[in-house]
Symmetry: C2
């Protein structure tokens, strides 16, 4: 059982093409990791960097979740698209959370659906 994990939550309502969404998820993973506790990051990396991608259906839901996570002082990063291609500039595409303790992340994201 992993002690730490990272969760990326995407705004599935944007219906981004899979490759575009994957790049946004990767941005979120890197940005959230850089913002996390270095000791936690090291342990998480050693342990196979557990990572899961979940979804919400709107930017509003994603923003609400972001604020709840921030209030709990977990490391979180919001990714906004530069808007050169598929969506308008500044569109919130996903948020990256952690790595952080599994139980703390689950308390905030445990009810969300996997991105299929």
């Amino acid at each position: 059982m992993n002690k730490y994990k990272q969760v990326i939550v995407v705004n599935a309502g944007l219906l981004l093409p899979p490759g575009k969404m994957a790049a946004q998820v990767a941005h979120a993973a890197v940005a959230a990791m850089l913002n996390a506790d270095p000791d936690v990051v090291e342990s998480w990396l050693d342990d196979g960097m557990a990572k899961i991608v979940l979804q919400v259906s709107s930017e509003m839901e994603l923003l609400t979740l972001y604020k709840r996570i921030e209030a709990e002082r977990l490391p979180v990063e919001a990714i906004r698209d530069a808007g050169r291609t598929v969506v308008s500039a500044g569109t919130l595409t996903c948020i990256g959370i952690g790595p952080a303790p599994v139980n703390k992340i689950d308390a905030l994201t445990g009810q969300l659906k996997l991105l299929g």
Copy 2:
């Protein structure tokens, strides 16, 4: 114009669900970054961490590309799935390249298609 970029190349032949593939792409982005030159990484992060997701259609193609990139001494990481869910354990899902100079990466991956 960015000086550095990161490219993730996925094995689209696996037909992974988008969320599963996004998590693999994020693994590759993190792993390749940790393997890259720290000064390059810093410059790339400051400059918005340019990242693009390309595709090949088979594991064989991906392995061949991996070896060519390794031979050119660019930072590259192969991601193999733990195989708990969708694919067999050890399946090569994607490779992460860089961040590295745009021209060097383009010379090796410029002919590949975007993951749609």
